[in-house]
């Protein structure tokens, strides 16, 4: 390397394409949640944000445990199909 040449400096900023992928991924979970009906969507969001279990959710929303499970399971299946189309 000649004296006049600048030493290479690593650019540690995230690569543009990985930022795009993150942004896409982030947008996708929000978009996919929005495709769900309101009840399963709220139940899934509450489970995630507040750490509620099936039993706690069913008590809080005052529905039988089995009903809560089938709402959420249907929601999760739809969410998965939306997050991973083609599977």
């Amino acid at each position: 390397m000649s004296e006049n040449e600048a030493a290479p400096i690593a650019d540690d900023a995230p690569l543009a394409d990985s930022m795009l992928i993150d942004a896409e991924r982030e947008a996708r979970i929000h978009t996919c949640l929005d495709t769900l009906d309101e009840t399963p969507r709220e139940a899934i969001r509450t489970a995630f944000f507040e750490g509620r279990t099936y039993a706690e959710l069913s008590e809080r929303m005052d529905v039988p445990l089995g009903t809560m499970k089938s709402w959420i399971r249907r929601g999760l299946a739809k969410l998965r199909a939306c997050m991973e189309p083609g599977e």
Partner: protein
């Protein structure tokens, strides 16, 4: 979705409790495909956590903390801790509430005279942080889940998936840096069991303490024999 995929999603989201939770946890440890599915769901959901703005925990959070600290059973503490821990692990943006639960359980003295909601007193609960360890068992996909609650001098030994061969039992030992190993009891296959820990062991247990598992005749090591072969070992870590 297959039933497995559904279970993985429910587990990743923290919907399960009791038997189902224990079963899913054992699957996660033993089944790479199941584990991958759980990770995939965590990655799908993680960006949601980025959207949470820091905020003051709801009053209800204090009540739950208080209920835990007043502590009726060790199991409740561990379940809540694990749940908090899982939330802690969700990507970077963790909620203020989870942080507070962890902080209070781990270092309650910091909160000393901090403002408490009226009518709520912090119980005599935890003063020392729990410790935990996984103990994978040699040449099997199985492991023991160990959680030590110093204040209760209780070691929760989860041996889900382990089956008795009808000829042997497994015995758990604390191996002090000096001196002879001390038995912490015989493991109950397929169950989560609370073992009480002798005083002198309780005083010595700390992060890095070595625990080993030996294979013994049914009922544990006979008084006059040497301990059987060591089949697993681990060290405790603070959680």
């Amino acid at each position: 979705m297959t039933p497995d995929q559904t279970l993985a999603a429910e587990y990743a989201l923290g919907l399960l409790e009791g038997e189902e939770l224990l079963a899913a946890r054992a699957r996660e440890a033993a089944d790479p495909a199941f584990f991958a599915e759980v990770v995939r769901w965590q990655e799908h959901m993680a960006p949601l956590a980025d959207a949470i703005a820091p905020r003051t925990p709801r009053a209800e959070v204090w009540q739950r903390i208080e209920a835990v600290l007043a502590g009726n059973s060790g199991i409740a503490e561990v379940v809540l801790l694990r749940r908090s821990l899982r939330r802690w692990q969700w990507a970077g943006g963790l909620s203020a509430a989870a942080a507070v639960i962890l902080a209070i359980v781990a270092i309650p003295q910091v909160f000393g005279p901090a403002p408490e909601p009226s009518g709520i007193t912090i119980g005599p609960g935890l003063t020392q942080p729990p410790m935990a360890a996984n103990m994978p068992i040699e040449s099997t996909p199985l492991r023991l889940d160990l959680t030590y609650l110093p204040d209760a001098q209780s070691l929760l030994v989860g041996a889900v998936g382990l089956e008795s061969d009808g000829v042997h039992d497994h015995e758990l030992w604390f191996v002090p840096p000096e001196g002879r190993p001390v038995s912490l009891g015989v493991v109950t296959p397929g169950r989560v069991v609370t073992h009480s820990v002798p005083d002198k062991v309780a005083r010595s247990l700390e992060t890095g303490s070595r625990l080993v598992l030996t294979r013994e005749p049914l009922g544990g090591k006979p008084a006059l024999s040497n301990a059987g072969p060591v089949v697993a070992e681990t060290r405790l870590a603070a959680i």
